[in-house]
Symmetry: C2
Subunit: 461 residues, 2 copies
Amino acid sequence: MSRVRILFIVMAALAAVNVHAATRPAKVAVCTACHGPELNGGKGMYPRIAGQPEAFIYLQLQNFKRGIRKNPLMSPVASGLSDAEMRQLAAYISTLHPPFAKQTAAKPTAGVLARGRELVTVGNWSRGVPACDSCHAPDLEGVAPSIPSLAGQPEQYLSGALQRLTSTTDKSLPAATMHKVANGLSSDDIKAVAAYIGSLKQGERVSAVRPAFDKAYRPVAQSPDKFTPPPLSAIPEGPNGDAIWQGLRLMQHTRALAPKYVGNDLNCVNCHINQGRRGTSAPMWAAYVMYPHYRSKNKQINTIEKRIQGCFRFSMNGTPPPADSPEMTALVTYFHWLATGLPVGIKPKQSGYPKLVAPAQEPSITRGSKVYAANCAMCHGADGHGRTARGAQVFPPLWGPRSYNNGAGMHRPGMAAAFIHANMPYADGRQMTVQEAWDVAAFVDSHSRPPDPRKKKQAGK
Amino acid sequence: MSRVRILFIVMAALAAVNVHAATRPAKVAVCTACHGPELNGGKGMYPRIAGQPEAFIYLQLQNFKRGIRKNPLMSPVASGLSDAEMRQLAAYISTLHPPFAKQTAAKPTAGVLARGRELVTVGNWSRGVPACDSCHAPDLEGVAPSIPSLAGQPEQYLSGALQRLTSTTDKSLPAATMHKVANGLSSDDIKAVAAYIGSLKQGERVSAVRPAFDKAYRPVAQSPDKFTPPPLSAIPEGPNGDAIWQGLRLMQHTRALAPKYVGNDLNCVNCHINQGRRGTSAPMWAAYVMYPHYRSKNKQINTIEKRIQGCFRFSMNGTPPPADSPEMTALVTYFHWLATGLPVGIKPKQSGYPKLVAPAQEPSITRGSKVYAANCAMCHGADGHGRTARGAQVFPPLWGPRSYNNGAGMHRPGMAAAFIHANMPYADGRQMTVQEAWDVAAFVDSHSRPPDPRKKKQAGK
């Protein structure tokens, strides 16, 4: 008997003991055979399935049965399951939260871990690779209903899955996105990502761990036509680095870390994708070098602080932090660092959102609703209220009382359409047409949201 | 008879009528012959001497008599004057304030005037040329006792004087400085400076007139190793330019324009020479790209605003303007503009004051007092209280109740010595030795000045 077969038999026997018999569907025993008695991942290539989102598990079983996903072990198993059995298994397995399985892979080098960490938390947008944690939740715990957890997966499974995705023919949205992502990773990148995620301890806060400073880092002057912000490993030790790191965390977890200033469920990174780095998404480095500057919106010179205050008032529907508050200082320190090497006062080629041409047809809310259902609802929800993981917002609400208010730039259909066309669906799984972007912007904008605080003020007079 | 001789006779006749007879020394008639009936400048090459500082007039007469200054007309005149007559003439002439004489020179082109204006108000420090208005007072009205007025001088006289200074052998301090300045000007520069000053209307506020925007200006990325801030003609029209200009004016006339924040008689440009441009004098462009940054002085991250607040508290012995005040916004807008093209976050080669080596001998207050008398007293006064023109401070007080306080960086002898060695005497008429810089810094620092506000606070507890 092969080693795999022996393992199968041993694991199946153990499964009957470890999984709580009273609530489990009978077919779970088939799963435990490979995925481990607690479904927290077998040795090597077998993923942890416990606690994955119900809809995600169900979809994968369907995909195996329909041949959309091919696997010599899973395809026959899924073929033998009825739709009802799949639903029962998905419902049950999604409720399980066993400890992480013991990792069997060899300990990776510090260099590999650092590279993996940078890819997981920053990505490599020059090759179309977003940060893993921007969709899979800040600590890679996954986002119901459709984004799986990566935390707790074995290294071998992760690298295999990424390799498989490089050649998938599945054109549906999450698979298409991951196909593009996987093809943006070199084989060394895939190894590094898998090694880093595989090394995570249970409960490890991926987004809260500051990377080690790379003492070899030297800033260089760069062209405003082609700019790359410094890597996370360029954050120095000491108080300057502390402030940079604090600013970055505020960008990502604005609501959680600055609750008194945020009046909705948005974080800075919702409009300023990839930690404010992404060139097509109003990058903070481009803004940093162009302020102070006059804005017709408030008819005055805006320092970078005043400009940020505008975001808090409108996009965050909140109370602007004072210009000399610790939160503002941290944000400005982070933006200054992000702009390292960029010339002051010369408008970078990438700045704001790329200008979008006018649509051929008048934007249509009806057409936009269909674009939304096909491209946006998976993450932002059919109700537009976004998605959370462990109570923290991962995908932002696009309308309703917890979204940006009517005074925000994103409320203008032209700006929303430009943002969407350049950046959505996230990570360029596929790009919308100009018309689709205008239509879906009109649809999003057709919903109610908090009032413009300037008009409230006038009304109160 | 030559035309000059005819003129001499006519002018001498008129002089008796125009100069108030009751108070004028008899020998004034000799002066009016060439310098005009009101001593406000004869035609062409004859300077306006009315209203020049008394000590300046007396010194020039002495120089002519002694042959230190050579002139075919003035040398014989001065040789015929006794010391008492020179004193009487100087005392009398310095009290006269007649209107500007009518200019006879052809109207210069706009390009020549713009070039002259830039040299007069910004200078060309790469060739050792300071702005004329930094010593001759903001509106070129001169500073008693020793800096002559330039306003009202005929173009031909000014260009002749600058030409003469290129070959002067006078090694005394103001002449030595002007010798270096004149040699830093090309012959076209001299023509432009003379044409611009010669074109000034009576009472024209040189420092208050914003130069025309040069539409051909394009910012370029520059190296942090060799940086040149933009010319004044790069200040754009509209609200951004208004704020830049306001910030520049605040730098120069801090006390006058922001009296509620300044507690002494200093202006920003006293420590940040040449409008904050000069590379050896804590240039504002270098500071701008390095903040936010941690400072051990206040044990926190300092945004550029907080750093500026430190200047107001210590160097200006005042009350810091709030981070979001109009004054602060204007200053930051100006610094941002001044740094145009400089990469963010890379320490420029020139930053702060150049580090000065330790002195060979322990700094001596006694030796320093002699260095001070020979090099500093002319502008800062024997009493260290500086000099004013029309009530506005031109040369800053170095000690006493109207100078920086004990908490200012300049109070540390090492910093003062570094500043002095790199920048004083102003415009590099001659450079001090390392020992002289340390000695004179010790002397300056040996005087009393306002207390450190942090210690006052502690004492009050």
